[in-house]
């Protein structure tokens, strides 16, 4: 198989893996095994896969509370993620974070963040460190379009621009800030214009097309790494599921959702690859089966994992060994 074919197959596998993981999460939530808030990325997989696959391990990633996909693509094992969802001590954060706060320092994944736009200033500061240390790494942050109404978005854009910092801003524009449509809360709905007003190089990409996202992200990452300046990439996408498990979806028409589902980033990409003869049906079945097996194993293991001891409740509030 050629390199481009391998890459395509890899992207397809990434997206299927995310989709299966999150569909399982929805079931496990209904079964009461996962609690708290659960925000699913279903429909938006092409954005995380296309963009994150353009980054290097030394780059540092900040994400939102809808970040299972980002954690998985950064390399967090599904079992560690599932154990965190179950609140087990073997979870990526010992069960302290849950769905909205997944961290993996070893893979430079600086977390989910449940405060909208809250991670953006930190991504700017991380870029100060990466640039100062001449690490060659860049800082990348993902956020929804809703974050662009927050002051922290504007402060972060301005700081990154004025200080020439290597930050890749990836806006996952899924058109709804929870239940409020973009045109209902944003005076300027052309999001790229916001970033351009700070002198930040910007572009928009079709977030339902993993290859388009990937090519745009590769160019953006290349620019950020070489110039050490920020870049704003908007990916237009759509969330197929409700905002969280508590959302009756009164704010959008079923027909609109169904229309977007016709552009499902997984099935459309799969069809493209099959039609172009890059892959055959058997490849799809093999991928689906292998990711399914991995997931089933992760769920089975995580279910049996232990909970954190009550005695450890107060650990890690301060760095271990440093408490007064």
């Amino acid at each position: 198989m050629s390199n481009p074919a391998k890459q395509s197959l890899g992207f397809l596998k990434d997206m299927i893996k995310i989709r299966q993981f999150e569909e399982a999460c929805a079931e496990l939530y209904s079964a009461g095994l996962i609690r708290g808030f659960l925000h699913l990325y279903i429909g938006e997989e092409a954005v995380a896969v296309g963009a994150l696959r353009a980054l290097l391990p030394r780059d540092v990633v900040f994400a939102t509370y809808r970040e299972h996909a980002h954690a998985l693509i950064r390399g967090l094992p599904p079992k560690d993620l599932m154990a965190e969802m179950f609140g087990k001590v073997t979870g990526s954060c010992r069960g302290r974070g849950g769905s909205m706060h997944i961290f993996d320092k070893s893979r430079n994944f600086a977390g989910g963040n449940a405060i909208v736009a809250g991670a953006l200033p930190m991504a700017v500061g991380m870029a100060i460190a990466l640039k100062y240390q001449e690490s060659g790494g860049i800082s990348a942050c993902f956020f929804g379009e809703g974050a662009m109404a927050e002051g922290e978005f504007h402060e972060a854009m301005n700081l990154a621009a004025i200080w020439n910092l290597p930050v890749l801003f990836v806006c996952e524009n899924n058109r709804y800030a929870m239940g409020t449509a973009l045109s209902r809360w944003e005076a300027q709905t052309d999001l790229v214009k916001h970033a351009e007003s700070y002198g930040v190089v910007s572009r928009s990409a079709d977030g339902m097309d993993v290859m388009e996202v990937h090519h745009a992200a590769k160019e953006a990452v290349c620019y950020v790494r070489e110039t050490k300046k920020p870049f704003f990439l908007e990916c237009q996408t759509y969330r197929f599921r409700a905002h969280s498990m508590f959302d009756a979806e009164k704010y959008r028409e079923k027909a609109e959702v169904e229309n977007w589902k016709k552009r499902d980033p997984i099935t459309t990409f799969q069809e493209q690859l099959l039609q172009a003869g890059v892959i055959v049906q058997h490849d799809v079945e093999a991928i689906t089966q292998s990711t399914r097996n991995d997931l089933d194993e992760a769920i089975a293991l995580a279910k049996n994992d232990p909970l954190e001891s009550r005695d450890d409740l107060c650990r890690h509030v301060y760095k271990e060994g440093s408490e007064a």
Binding site: V60, G91, S92, C93, R94, G95, R96, G97, H101, F103, D104, K105, A110, G111, N113, I115, G118, A119, L120, P121, M122, A123, V124, G125, M126, A127, I128, A129, L130, Y132, Q133, S139, G151, E152, E155, A156, N158, L159, I162, W163, R315, H316, V317, Y318, K319, E320, S322, E323, A324
Partner: protein
């Protein structure tokens, strides 16, 4: 060697030594560079270390405090100067939701070795939006450390100790202290680390517990009380989180009476925490109800006489201490 340094000069010396000694350390904040710092603490540092180590920021408290957190996560040792405690409210999200939570929430993977300095307190006729004392508020938050240095020597070591700490440390500098002078040896580490309380005066009749900007008035009051034959012990907390309750309990166990003095408003204040701890852990040592002298519960006014009336003054301390002693 001993030097006679003002609170401002002590901070400045600590900062310049820290920046020179460790290439991970840098300072950023509004007007810390070209202007030299609102309270002139960073005067000359830009010229000495350049714009990468002494970084002027836009008026974006949430943005640059968050950037400080990010830089700390990335392995640097940022010192963020927030012009005054009042403006830190604009960065509350970053301080509370990120700096204080990341270590615990990530299961101990990430740490935030960040120092945030800010001026606090009343006394300069700056009225209701520039005279707050929020250190007690911040002390409510697990994950943070809260230093309230009251002397030039403490201010010097607050910076040094905070930079050695792998956790987020907030330093509250009472704005009336910057000109105060003290002779001390900045090369000789203090016996008490910044996190521990210290006795500023020993006494036997009652314990007066205070911190930061109120210490000077409390010591003055203690002198006056002595003239009237009342021996007051003065405990300077120096740090509100972690709270060195044992030092307070030890003092009260000896004097059997407690008065706590602070500028912040009384309701829900740190002085209430001090009294509660003493009441629950040293109740049988008490011979009188613990008392508090705090700020009057109003937005602090501009007019000098009214501003003075709204925060504890030496005469108020003397008067309440006498009442406590008389019980």
């Amino acid at each position: 060697m001993k030097q006679n340094l003002s609170y401002r000069e002590a901070l400045s010396l600590a900062l310049s030594r820290a920046i020179a000694a460790d290439n991970r350390v840098f300072i950023m904040g509004e007007d810390v560079g070209e202007y030299g710092g609102t309270y002139a603490v960073t005067q000359g540092l830009l010229k000495q270390f350049g714009p990468e180590r002494v970084r002027d920021t836009p008026l974006s408290e949430s943005g640059f405090v968050g950037a400080g957190i990010g830089a700390a996560l990335g392995g640097l040792r940022p010192i963020v100067e927030v012009m005054t405690v009042n403006f830190s409210l604009l960065a509350l999200d970053q301080i509370v939701n990120n700096a204080a939570t990341l270590s615990h929430m990530s299961g101990g993977q990430f740490h935030v070795p960040l120092v945030i300095r800010m001026a606090t307190g009343a006394g300069r006729q700056l009225a209701a939006q520039h005279s707050h004392s929020w250190e007690g508020w911040y002390a409510h938050i697990p994950g943070l450390k809260i230093l309230t240095p009251s002397t030039p020597e403490d201010a010097y070591w607050a910076v040094i100790d905070a930079l050695e700490d792998p956790n987020p440390v907030l330093i509250f500098e009472h704005a009336l202290l910057y000109g105060n002078k003290q002779e001390f040896d900045p090369d000789r580490r203090q016996a008490q680390p910044s996190e521990k309380a210290t006795l500023r005066r020993t006494g036997s009749d009652l314990s007066i517990v205070t911190y930061g900007g109120s210490l000077g008035k409390v010591l003055e009051a203690a002198e006056q009380l002595q003239a009237d034959g009342i021996s007051a012990e003065v405990v300077d907390l120096r740090c509100l989180r972690p709270f060195d309750e044992q030092s307070v309990i030890d003092s009260v166990s000896k004097t059997n009476k407690l008065l706590v003095v602070e500028e912040a408003w009384k309701s829900g204040s740190f002085s209430a925490e001090v009294c509660t701890r003493v009441a629950s852990k040293a109740f049988y040592h008490l011979e009188a109800p613990p008392q508090r002298l705090c700020g009057v519960e109003i937005p602090i006014p501009y007019a000098k006489h009214q501003e003075e009336a709204s925060i504890p003054q030496t005469a108020d301390i003397v008067s309440l201490a006498k009442e406590v002693h008389a019980i």
